[in-house]
């Protein structure tokens, strides 16, 4: 049996030269000590391969039509055998791809592997990063639910801030005067043809560069990169201590890659397909468009930016981020590679992690948005038998105060907590605030009737610290 296979292979190989073509690539020498830190690039590729397979299978059923995309996804999720699992795999596969890509990028940066002669490896990687994020965002739009159609509006509004061509860019994203079926088909074509095609081409380039420039050896403090001698030194190192990629290094990629697949499969099975928002019906006005997790931190940037500079941030922020990533190998392409000798690189990683972490946390709290799901204040919070106070508490809910202000944990967090407002402000101060509003608060002078203002005031004045035991209650 084994002999038969061998014979068939020899027959094919003699006529195609496949072995001759792939052999040297597979067995190219890699540093013997390039171990588990080096698996994240191939893991990204593994996740992308899964995306291609699951994406094609989803396209077997998905209907990219403005009127039917949502229903076809509902069918995939709830009716078609294994459909929910496929959607889940595609979602967690995308998440894994982005996660692995980010870890890969940080590792390459931390190891100084982007330095000579691997500048182009880095630059092609930065482009792959940008294409992959765009692929993820367009994928989110394929759900064609409320979240998707309104996310497109938000994207168009951001594009609209670009000087001069902004309005046209915005119109291009919307796809004309208004969103329509053509908006979906355009993003569908981008998501399934254009972006994967570009990414495949760039992966080809990226891998070719890996073969040409070799896998960088783990950094050693004090061992500097000198473009004049680097290639010769690397060549010598490989001749002395290098090991063939296949199978000496490839097995780790295989172990980690299979582990990643198992993790994706587990997440898909355990968490299921990502939730669908309401259908894209424009008369349903409860949409709250939000990006998927990997862009949530940027969502926080948009919310926290002072309005005066937000146009600048929206336009030049992403541009600056891209430029910064692009400039990395031009700022330093030689010298030390080990983090111990690169304090600025350590600072950049730590600062970046803190920045994104803090923004992510802020996005999960979302304390810049009113709460829409609050219920009227419960009796044990109101704690009064006074009709005016009770009416005031009702108004606190009815007039929308509770959307932004909390009392004893009930209510939004956009405005100040009013649990003890009666101890902090006197009657005239409270009235002034309510009537005039403020930076983030509407003026309620035209909304509240005068007796309502009185009752609301009466209620708020009861919001006091408990009297201290020795204060004699005066």
């Amino acid at each position: 049996m084994k002999d038969t296979f061998k014979k068939i292979w020899q027959w094919v190989d003699e006529r195609t030269g496949l072995g001759e073509m792939l052999g040297p690539q597979l067995t190219h020498l890699v540093p013997h000590d390039a171990r588990w830190w080096y698996v994240f690039g191939s893991a990204t590729l593994m996740a992308f391969s899964l995306q291609i397979v699951t994406g094609i299978l989803l396209a077997f059923t998905y209907v990219p039509s403005g009127g039917q995309a949502y229903d076809s996804l509902m069918y995939i999720t709830h009716v078609q055998p294994w459909g929910w699992y496929l959607r889940a795999l595609h979602f967690y596969g995308a998440s894994a791809m982005i996660l692995m890509m980010i870890i890969h990028m940080v590792q390459v940066f931390a190891f100084g592997s982007y330095k000579y002669p691997r500048e182009m490896n880095w630059l092609s990687g930065v482009l792959l990063f940008a294409f992959t994020i765009t692929l993820g965002f367009t994928g989110q739009l394929m759900r064609w639910d409320q979240n998707a159609v309104w996310s497109i509006m938000v994207a168009a509004e951001q594009a609209g801030r670009v000087p001069i061509i902004g309005p046209w860019l915005g119109r291009f994203i919307v796809g004309g005067d208004v969103e329509s079926a053509s908006t979906l088909t355009k993003f569908y074509a981008l998501h399934v043809f254009v972006l994967p095609g570009i990414i495949l081409a760039f992966i080809g380039l990226h891998l070719q560069l890996v073969l040409k420039n070799g896998i960088s050896e783990p950094p050693t403090p004090g061992k500097k990169v000198d473009p004049a001698t680097e290639r010769a030194e690397y060549h010598e190192l490989m001749e002395k201590t290098g090991v063939p990629f296949w199978p000496d290094a490839a097995w780790r990629d295989a172990v980690f890659g299979v582990g990643l697949l198992l993790a994706i499969m587990f997440c898909a099975w355990y968490f299921g397909a990502p939730a669908m928002d309401n259908p894209p019906d424009p008369s349903l006005t409860t949409a709250n468009p939000q990006p998927d997790w990997y862009l949530m931190w940027y969502f926080a940037v948009l919310a926290l930016m002072p309005p005066q500079i937000e146009s600048v941030v929206m336009v030049f922020g992403p541009l600056l981020m891209g430029l910064l990533l692009f400039s990395v190998p031009f700022i330093s392409n030689s010298g030390e590679r080990h983090l111990k000798k690169r304090p600025w690189a350590v600072g950049a990683i730590v600062l970046g992690a803190i920045l994104v972490g803090v923004l992510w946390h802020a996005a999960s709290e979302e304390n810049w948005s009113p709460h829409f799901t609050e219920k009227p204040l419960p009796v044990e919070v109101v704690q009064s038998t006074d009709a005016h106070v009770i009416h005031g508490a009702t108004l606190f809910y009815d007039r929308g105060c509770i959307n932004c202000h909390a009392i004893q944990g009930h209510g939004g967090v956009k405005g100040p907590d009013l649990t003890f407002i009666g101890s902090k402000l006197d009657a005239s101060q409270i009235i002034l605030r309510i009537a005039n509003g403020g930076k983030g608060m509407p003026s309620f002078a035209g909304i509240l009737k005068s007796d309502e203002m009185g009752d609301l005031l009466a209620f708020l004045q009861t919001r006091k610290h408990a009297p201290l035991p020795y204060s004699n209650n005066n």
Partner: protein
């Protein structure tokens, strides 16, 4: 094994005639390729960009009888876009908030917050529009009450035609910086 090397003819030292012939052939290839690419790309780019420059003729769309709306109330409405396609489905409609200000005056507000385009919600008892994204708030007349929005809510033109309230379609408002 031999396929990788060029045939011996091309290895000969090139004569000046051959060199100028090669330069000519290179130029011809590039110019022809350039012409072909240009000729091909004009309609292709035009096809891709067409939606940017296509302006739908605005249409008046009925949204209900005058009597269906109470003075002082604001309700959600939706109406067909100016040029819906058969496969648009739900996407072929636009939503809006319609306020009956008086016996004869109707105001239709776009859903799109002027900050970043999220859909604003009408909080009837508070008489405010609130945006879920970044906390923009508008008064009942659409003017900015609080938060980041730079401008009042965009409006659609309205009219009463034979006892029916009609709203005029318009492109989505994309704010400039």
């Amino acid at each position: 094994m031999t396929a990788k090397t060029n045939p011996p003819e091309s290895r000969k030292p090139a004569s000046p005639e051959l060199l100028s012939r090669r330069a000519f052939l290179e130029r011809v290839t590039f110019i022809l390729g350039g012409i072909g690419t240009l000729a091909m790309s004009v309609p292709l780019v035009g096809y891709v960009l067409a939606p940017v420059f296509k302006n739908d003729v605005p249409k008046w769309r009925p949204v209900g009888k005058v009597g269906d709306f109470k003075v002082g109330e604001t309700v959600a409405i939706s109406f067909d876009n100016a040029a819906p396609l058969p496969w648009d489905g739900q996407t072929g409609k636009t939503g809006a908030w319609l306020r009956r200000n008086s016996e004869t005056e109707f105001i239709a507000f776009a859903l799109t917050c002027t900050h970043l385009g999220c859909p604003v919600r009408w909080m009837a008892s508070a008489e405010l529009f609130m945006c879920p994204c970044h906390g923009g708030v508008y008064y009942k007349d659409g003017s900015v009450a609080a938060g980041p929005p730079p401008k009042p809510l965009p409006r659609f033109e309205t009219r009463i035609n034979n006892g029916v309230v009609e709203v005029k379609t318009q492109p989505v408002a994309i704010q400039r910086s």
